[in-house]
Amino acid sequence: MAIIERPSDEVEVVDQSTPSEATPESSYGVFRRPVETTGWKSWLFTIDHKKLGIMYGVVAMFFFVVGGIEAMLIRLQLAGPNGTVLSADKYNQMFTMHATTMVFLFVMPMAAAFANYFVPLQIGARDVAFPRINAFGFWAFLFGGLFLNTSWFLGGGADGGWFMYAPNSSVAFSPSNGVDFWGLGLQITGIASLTGAINLIVTVINMRAPGMSLMKLPIFTWMVMVVQFLLLFAMPVITVALFMLMFQRSFDATFFTVEAGADPLLWQHLFWIFGHPEVYILVLPSFGIVSEILPVFSKKPLFGYPLIVFSGAAIGFVGWGVWAHHMFASGLGPISVAAFSVATMAIAIPTGVKIVNWTLTMWGGKIKFTVPMLYAVGVIIQFTIGGLSGVTHSVAPSDTQQTDTYYIVAHFHYVIFGGAVLGLFAGMYYWWPKMFGKMLNERLGRVNFWLTIIGMNLTFGPMHIIGLQGQPRRMYQWTENRAGEGFFNIGFWNLVASIGTFVLALGVLLFFVNIYVSHRKGTEKAPLDPWDARSLEWITTNPPKEHNFDRVPQVGHLDEFFHRKYEDRGADGHHEFHQVATAEEVLAEEEKNADGHIHLPSPSYWPILLAFSLPIMAYGVIYNLFLLLGGAVLALVSFYGWGLEPHTAPEEDYDPPTGTSMEVASHG
């Protein structure tokens, strides 16, 4: 089949004579294909994994700010006893939406941003396996997230907690449309996750550069793949639950109506069968990022790479057998509780392996403390705290004292903020020059890091004390009657936690300042290989060309890039590594031998249109079934458009016809 290269400066013309298979002649004859490579259209209709990755990142950061503001309002309310910043109703919406936003609209898409951008680069591919599905996934996520947040303006957000336990989520107990928005919004982002998962797994399995066996995959790619498997199998479970919630609320079914004989624990099980793998979905990408960064700045390979891969997979697998540890207090019966308690302890073993191997990666190394490295070490330390507090409530009887208190809030914020979010920031500092061709300011970065670390420990550290002193979660007010006195006074530590939030916010603000400062006019372009990195994504320009690599790299080692730059000149068991090539030289070698036939699929209208039909249908479910029908028609049209569309636009769609700078080829 003929595949036409998007106009590109880098690659010179090759031959135009290669005959193509019979293809459907044009897009449709009705519309011209969107083929722009610059301007807003190039973003709206792009199917380039790098552009989509950046958009994922930008949108995720936007929702991070939204979720952060929600968090600050929560902490303002709780800074003193009987807070009055928020009403009970608004407070309940605030903590529900804070969790939902941070989990589904920040951490997951931020990880998706890195996965989208770097997985193809790390495996030496030119794009993902299904570029249009990739674009659809992004737009579905964006529209789902926006749809979810429009609830704030349409009668209030969801108010049942992110776990949305039945029957409190029924219309009688939550009469606003908030829960409907929540359920349908998560369905939409769930579709995005599912399609993204299939896409990335196929990409990793099938599109690796020659020589890259699975045990030579960069560790970030490995962890992303584990996460995509978790998504692939966890998403349908929450889909079932959300459909039942929708039928319950919008179509009068009684899945969770106790008077009709329903069992409220049904929801809990379905939610947590999804919800526990979800926890690993949140942290594993960051573990991958940390595992990339530590070797680079220690100048050593990852200690026990196979074991880290295996433990990642083990966490993914065992993660399916521990969901009921969220339900130790819900009356499962002693045998279930004991079994899930022991299974939960077991999962600490592969997690411990990671921490030990990270530290041993640094041991004996040549450690350079750049900002990404600071964040990576921050992850190890903060996550260790979160992991250990996790062990304390794998002990089920102990958990019945701690669950639904601030101790748990402290625990999972050390895991999710300390583990996942710090890791994501590490990734941003590490990969920024690769993505945008500019370095983020190191000095500002250090201040950013320390404020974040101090802020997070001030915020979440005291919550251990507050929780063990018996303050439950999800209370819009606390009272001095139950605060105690002295060192463990709940009031004092609540105030500290609230102050901490603002320190944390200041830290995050500095990140944005850093972006601004680094991208002002006149700042230097980033060096090609600023960190002396080790993996494949660095064997290309900063930022990478549209087709990623001039030549698909041949892979011989786990840390391919490192081994192209350094050579072991030791003998007899003695090792002496010497630099034999600079990054520029490695790249020049690749460019010299550029592939003649590079082809990329063309942009498309259909992904964004199909994604746009989803919120229309969702509004239809809430407000008017005719709207649902309208959305369905749009979806159907998009399906046909998509299905009939060839992968590349016909030449005449390019404007102006650039003639010579295009090539027709099949993959060599």
Partner: protein, 109 residues
């Protein structure tokens, strides 16, 4: 079942990708129809079958399930990677939902 296995055996590995001949598929379909009929007979003779009823029915169901999966869907002849993808999902589904039903005391009643 036996027909199918023979079919496969006669094929040899180099032809593995091709699956069965049309006749082979028709034989399997007839076999599946017969099992379905047996299942229906089962459901009408529950009392006579006694303790054999439930396991019998489940075994028949599993036979049908895997016949379609292995032959109609070519899983038997195709790459193991496809099998892996499907069986991970299937195993997780059976495992998680069995435990889920067990904790809700489904199997006691």
């Amino acid at each position: 079942m036996s027909t199918a296995t023979e079919q496969h055996d006669t094929h040899g590995d180099e032809h593995a990708e091709h699956g069965l001949t049309d006749l082979g598929y028709i034989k399997i379909a007839i076999f599946l129809a017969v099992i379905t009929a047996v299942e229906v007979v089962f459901s009408y003779t529950q009392e006579q079958l006694g303790a054999a009823f439930l396991p019998g029915l489940l075994i028949l169901m599993a036979v049908k399930f895997f016949m379609v999966l292995l032959y109609f869907m070519h899983l038997k002849f195709d790459s193991k990677l496809f099998s892996l993808m499907f069986y991970i999902g299937m195993t997780l589904a059976v495992g998680c939902y069995a435990v889920f039903l067990a904790t809700l005391h489904f199997f006691q009643s």
